[in-house]
Symmetry: C2
Subunit: 412 residues, 2 copies
């Protein structure tokens, strides 16, 4: 992609009401534009990142044997009456033609339970795990954390249906491993720890995946031995490591990047979703749910991976792998950069080519740092004199010259 | 994918309130499940089709130089006050925390205009064409056509911004060609004709892409010479071929599968979106918009391509290319089918493998016809005796034996 033609521009000015580092840098970098508090437009750069995050999550969910479906946002209010959740504070209510009452789903238990019920009657039809990647709506009174807390936000939500609690437990533990694979691929790696949290009305505990970060909104108490934590909200009732009973837990700030719940029969019972077991007996279906928000992940990555110059994207989710910058107005230099751009594209390297004629060297370099693409290649009169380009990693201090003939090979 | 593990099942019973052929067959085939009138859940089979349609559209929009973005559904009502459209009958209104007034976008002129305005100041920033593939919401009083008319539905909407009417016209004509490429790839090919329709308050005419079909809701008047049509709604004021002035127009039923509008300055003026031209003069921005609904296309394909046994998907959007069916309980037959399944997957052939042990031959064959995958491969004791499988196209009457060793090669 040529930067001169890319829709969306970098801006030096932080948005007046940018309430968080992720909102500030993503807006300045031309990734997103705020529509209103908690609601964002994704520009081409931002959509590329979001899509890469979604695809990593999708691949891991498919590998785990879950099947992708797509449920609507708009739903009859009566489904929430069935579960007694129609007065949830964060639920948006709408009136349809003829006075019919609708809501916008803030989560999809009220849709997925009767949906799976339609196709599952016997123990032979279970277990089933389905997921979607879709936008949720929550009537948040305060949405002030950029992409971290939205009124409209993107979510991967997976629901599993089982014949027994043991089967749920097996799948639930497997999903913990799947989630850690996702965080590894997203570049969050070792920062993410499993935290025990409140189980709500469903079960004793739920589990959160918390990315350690000094700017995190959550406080967790970490066992340094087991790398397992307890969320502050339950530390009074559970002040020891759930794994080794160690009572020496260390408070840490963290950003929640996923959570999983054993729903048990909370929703299946509300909808009367039962199955017939091998002995012909009718039994309640046992459920679990597993959330992971791609837009929240995008905000979290920026909160964690940035410096005073801008964003530092992990390579797996960066909008492009290479930021090719041409400096100066020299025709030969422009031609050499153009040739390199074509060559990189031919080798399937994702490259953003800053071919702007009116931008200064300073502007181009600071924009490259702000946007945060992993590899910067510079072509200038000086590098061309050495038949080379300058290669610098976003995270590395030192740049080095690479012969023009070897650049594309080295990066592909 | 193994059919025994696929979420979603075929059903012989048509849904009681299936108001259209597409709703009936897509539900019976296990592609979708109705949530409420005009709102559908997409099961794995249905989501595969929808995604393929979206990807064809995406590729063609990108090739045309448009850039993909993603705008929200939830938006401040005041944006619609600005354009005087907040009392549109089909607009859903919501109240947010603290009494703030929101709407759900039924189209995105009220979002995209100020968005593009944020980044476009001078003639150098224009033209720009951005699009998204996203869900729209319309408070339809009667949503009775399955996927053809939804309260929540998927839409590709593209908006173009120009410095002059001539530039808009050039792009607008180019997009007509792009749309015909899309229909060609979707299997609608020669059925789609360009129809002149009302331009609303924006301009004299808009243009629709109409797929000829006896079950179409629209009536168009077709010039057999030019293959161009006039929508019934404007036939009184325009009763001749717009291309050759032929007055001998033939009434035809058709399904609208896309429409494009010259918006001119209708929305740019409302938002005060102007640019500075080369001479330094401030000028209004000229806009066009281009709609094409993936979910509506999915419904249309079923309306047009089906027979009394079920759906007949065009190969480009079929959920799988091959429907592999194993008949009988013989171990050798099962093993041969299993081997073929693995071989097909290795050759990257998308295959649905009906490996059900409890289903009869009749059930399997009628399910294959209902689901409508282009190629059916049958492995049975009879075919195995000939070291072969039976290959039949969904549209073809005759089946033929193909040696097992050659099946995967022939289909890859």
């Amino acid at each position: 992609m040529r930067y001169s033609q890319l829709f969306g521009k970098t801006t030096k000015n932080a948005p007046a009401d940018a309430e968080s580092v992720n909102a500030k840098l993503l807006t300045q970098g031309g990734f997103v534009l705020k529509q209103m508090a908690g609601v964002y437009n994704y520009l081409p750069l931002g959509l590329r990142v979001l899509t890469k995050i979604q695809n990593i999550i999708r691949e891991e969910m498919n590998t785990a044997g879950a099947q992708e479906i797509l449920m609507p946002a708009l739903t009859q209010e009566e489904n929430y009456d069935t579960t007694g959740r129609s007065n949830l504070e964060i639920l948006f209510h709408l009136e349809g033609a003829g006075g019919s009452k609708f809501v916008l789903n803030q989560s999809h238990e009220e849709v997925v339970t009767p949906l799976v019920q339609t196709y599952s009657f016997s123990y032979r039809d279970l277990p089933v795990a389905v997921y979607q990647i879709q936008n949720k709506f929550r009537n948040e009174p305060r949405a002030k954390s950029g992409l971290l807390r939205g009124r409209e936000f993107n979510m991967k939500d997976l629901y599993s249906f089982h014949t027994s609690e043991e089967d749920l437990n097996t799948f639930y533990e497997k999903m913990q491993g799947v989630y850690f694979n996702v965080y590894q691929r997203l570049g969050l790696g070792e920062r993410v720890v499993l935290a025990f949290a409140s189980g709500g009305s469903f079960s004793r505990y739920s589990h959160e995946f918390q990315a350690l970060s000094d700017v995190g909104e959550d406080t967790i108490f970490l066992c340094k031995k087991c790398n397992v934590a307890v969320n502050k909200e339950i530390i009074d009732e559970h002040n020891f490591c759930p794994q080794c009973n160690n009572v020496d837990l260390v408070p840490k700030k963290a950003i929640e990047v996923g959570n999983i719940f054993k729903l048990m029969t909370r929703f299946s019972e509300a909808f009367g979703f039962k199955y017939t077991d091998a002995a012909g007996k009718v039994q309640p279906v046992i459920m679990g749910c597993y959330g992971l928000g791609p837009s929240r992940i995008m905000g979290t990555l920026v909160e964690i991976f940035h410096d005073d110059k801008g964003i530092v994207w992990p390579e797996t989710v960066a909008p492009f792998k290479v930021h090719l910058v041409v400096l100066g107005a020299d025709v030969e230099v422009a031609e050499a950069a153009e040739k390199l751009y074509v060559e990189l594209k031919k080798k399937m390297v994702e490259v953003l080519f800053d071919d702007r004629e009116k931008a200064s060297a300073g502007e181009k370099l600071s924009d490259a740092d702000l946007i945060g693409i992993p590899y910067r290649i510079l072509v200038s009169k000086k590098t061309l004199a050495e038949k080379s380009a300058e290669l610098k990693e976003r995270t590395g201090a030192a740049a080095r010259l690479v012969p023009l003939s070897r650049v594309a090979g080295e990066l592909s």
